[in-house]
Subunit: 314 residues, 2 copies
């Protein structure tokens, strides 16, 4: 069997498409970005990707028979056959992206997955979860997402909703609504926006002096910075966040009992304070057999998607 040398990893976002050329041994050789053309229901997106791949192959003198395949992360649910079920951000309806990109690239092997899941796969492969085949990635960004990896493979779920941990229903008496329409979702407390929201609510009835007062708009970063500087109110907010996330992650451990939790997303840039505080409460609420599950910070940043995408075809 002849071993092929190259593979492409593609991370399709609503604004830009991140592209990576990899050696099949896993080394990232080159990365670049193209614009996401969402006009006309995103009809040009796959053609643009195919053209960009072909240009790169020409530039690097790569023949089609040297390419193992192309993997793509897509911002929405994708089923096992590669059919996207609706990517609102791209304007896409329901069609098979795998067969389409394969066709555009002369029959090349293709795979596709949900972007959050694909990023988790990337972190498992060469990031914070390296060395583990059973991992859960928790992404604390604009929203709260999760990627569940079992035996080295992404769990997609019957409805593409595996890993939607941002929608754990954590509070039954929450008056504010989540973007999903429910009330009391984890995301309402633990996303970057949720952390800032909880900060604002606390400040409204706070009489103590705090560095958070006057920050306009108050951000999650302000709260972590305040906590690191020893501000009492900020520290309480971080504890409350840790308790909420520690509880939620203890649920995940009761379901799949992963080898490790990897925490990524913008909020994780605050560093060890995030993982340490979550872990403190996780240990308190987790079933005893899982209580020592380690926590790590994500390492690949914005490249997690191209790493995970290419991993699907390797």
């Amino acid at each position: 069997m002849r071993v092929k040398t190259y593979a492409f990893g593609v991370d399709i976002g609503g604004t830009t498409i991140k592209m990576g050329l990899f050696h099949t041994d896993g080394k990232l050789l080159d990365k670049w970005e193209i614009k996401t053309r969402t006009e006309e229901n995103g009809t040009y997106i796959l053609q643009d990707i195919a053209d960009s791949v072909k240009d790169k192959m020409k530039e690097q003198n790569i023949r089609i028979e040297d390419v193992e395949g192309i993997g793509m992360g897509v911002p929405g649910p994708v089923d096992a056959s590669g059919t996207v079920l609706k990517c609102v951000n791209l304007g896409w309806g329901v069609f098979n992206v795998v067969s389409r990109i394969s066709e555009l690239l002369g029959g090349i092997r293709a795979c596709a997955g949900n972007d959050a899941n694909v990023a988790a796969l990337g972190e498992m492969w060469q990031g914070g979860g390296a060395g583990h085949e059973n991992m859960v990635m928790v992404t604390l960004g604009t929203g709260v997402g999760g990627g569940i990896i079992i035996n080295g493979k992404i769990v997609a779920g019957a409805n593409g909703a595996a890993g939607e941990i941002g929608h754990f229903q954590m509070k039954k008496d929450e008056p504010a609504a989540c973007g999903c329409g429910k009330h009391g979702c984890l995301e309402q407390y633990a996303s970057a926006n949720g952390i800032a929201r909880m900060g604002r609510l606390k400040l409204e009835q706070e009489s103590r002096d705090t560095v958070l007062k006057g920050k306009e708009p108050l951000t999650a970063k302000d709260i972590f910075d305040g906590a690191k500087a020893g501000d009492e109110v900020a520290l309480e907010l971080v504890e409350e966040l840790g308790e909420m996330l520690g509880t939620a992650l203890s649920y995940i451990a009761c379901v799949t009992d992963p080898e490790i939790f990897v925490v990524g997303g913008g909020v994780s840039k605050a560093g060890a304070i995030v993982t340490d505080t979550i872990q403190k409460y996780f240990r308190k609420y987790a079933f005893h057999a899982s209580a020592d599950t380690p926590f790590a910070l994500a390492q690949l940043g914005n490249d997690a998607g191209i790493y995970g995408s290419v991993k699907m075809v390797l």
Copy 2:
């Protein structure tokens, strides 16, 4: 390749060992039980199983080369290699049951799994989850257990604790302790004992007339019978149970998003009232993409373990 005709499924319990002879097409040909000899740290258990298998083979004129293998469900955590980590009920410490039973049966192929997980596999194969490869089984018995099946395989977990859904921490202000040492575990409200406990607590401060008064000891069955007869207090207890379980199962759906939930264990004998009430609250709390996940009652009863055990070797 010669196709082998027979396989054995064994479900090791603390009191009896259930044994099944199967055709490799999945048909149960014969089933019987032997006593579990727990004396001397359960040292005779595997020998007794091997002897019983050999007797059955002799009786049925089955040669060793006609046997595909033997699968065993064990009441405790088992890792992927077949090492049991401690089966308190059997007196077992840490050793490899797979290599041991294989040795005792002339090198026959063997597999082992945790009994709750194995029962889930049985229900997936020929019970309430038939036709589905991604399933979660919820067992409401003396305790609350779960079996997570992804792509037709049991998820065991890094610490053998996958599916320990009875230890979801549902209430932070619970004064009573769970058997695990924590406070507020799902099992404290939704197991047969937990349901009865909640009933007793409610009756202590109940002024309404109810059929539950005077039942001593009050059981989960009394509560379901009362609810079916329209008793207001019993109906409220069933609703509270449904809300607790519906919430917990909505968490599972946010993690693995199964195709179906199968509900088994003694409590499920109350029938559709159990699944209907859980499902009502599940639909309320689940992420919208998973809200229509179907619920089914388990079908194999006490045979689920031998079905699931044999499935591991087929």
